[in-house]
Amino acid sequence: MEKTEFIALVIPFKDKLYRLAKRILISKDEAEDAVQEVFMKLWNGKQNIENYNNPEAFAITMTKNYCLDRLKSKQASNLKIVHSNYQTSENIEKKIEANDGVEMVFKIMETLPEQQRIVLQLRDVEQFEFSEIAQMLDSNETAIRVALSRARKTVRDAMIKNYNYGIG
């Protein structure tokens, strides 16, 4: 497979991989690194990529595994993930204030267990079918639905608590 051909194949789901990586790793830099790493792995194993009927699902599974490994090794070496997503320029601060509710939802999502975060990301952000998610996560649809329901409820409860607090 030629380089241009490979790029044409993977570019359409680059942002999806990035968003998933960011949902798991939180940090933008870490997420970009993860995407780079996954593409390198795909490129090095490009002889095989044509054999997978769904390269996108395959890449998503790889990204998920890579990010979880990354988290594990971080925790094992007792390093905290340092991220500096919050730029200090005034413009951006104002924007964040305007999207306060959005920021809050992002923060709540960060508190979810990884598996729930991944399911929520793949369903509510990337809008994959349950069957696709089950395949990507090597799980079954029932388990996915349960995890998704828990994640949505957790976000809802935390959000409503915050919302009422803001009003009262």
């Binding site: 380089k3 990035y18 970009e32 593409f39 999207n99 939802v105 952000v125």
Partner: protein
């Protein structure tokens, strides 16, 4: 959009029982239309999900040429090794009976001088045979003069 229906779909949504189409409906309702007051508290969730969809990777990824070069290199090593082995085996088989002109001459000279030596030693032996007569003469002489 009637809020009663939205509430029903929302209920199913939190149970994980909505279809993608229904979820699309919720997304549109909470992001575009006038939201009824009792549903306003759910709005941040769908605004957040919409914002999450808009996130984009900003860094370009790069692919090394290395993987391609690597296979070419190992391929070359294989060919080089085979050539060396083939050359070694080939030269062992083909060069053995081959002598250079100089070597041939030397070999011929060696054969000739060997023959010459043999001839010489034969003749020398003939000479010693003749000497037996001399010893016989000595014996008879001793008999007579005793």
């Amino acid at each position: 959009m009637e809020s009663v229906k939205i509430k029903q779909v929302l209920e199913a949504y939190f149970e994980g029982e909505t279809t993608l189409a229904e979820e699309k409906l919720l997304e549109n309702y909470f992001n575009n239309e006038k939201i009824s007051d009792d549903l306003l508290q759910y709005q941040p969730l769908f605004a957040g999900l919409k914002a999450a969809k808009a996130e984009r990777s900003t860094r370009a990824f790069h692919l090394p040429e290395a993987s391609k070069q690597k296979t070419i290199k190992t391929w070359w090593y294989g060919v080089a090794a085979m050539l060396v082995v083939a050359f070694g085996v080939g030269s062992f088989f083909f060069s053995q009976p081959e002598y250079s002109q100089e070597e041939k001459e030397a070999l011929a000279a060696f054969e000739k001088s060997k023959q010459a030596m043999l001839l010489l030693s034969e003749n020398l032996n003939k000479g010693t045979e003749q000497l037996t007569f001399v010893s016989q003469f000595e014996k008879t002489k001793d008999k007579i003069f005793e």
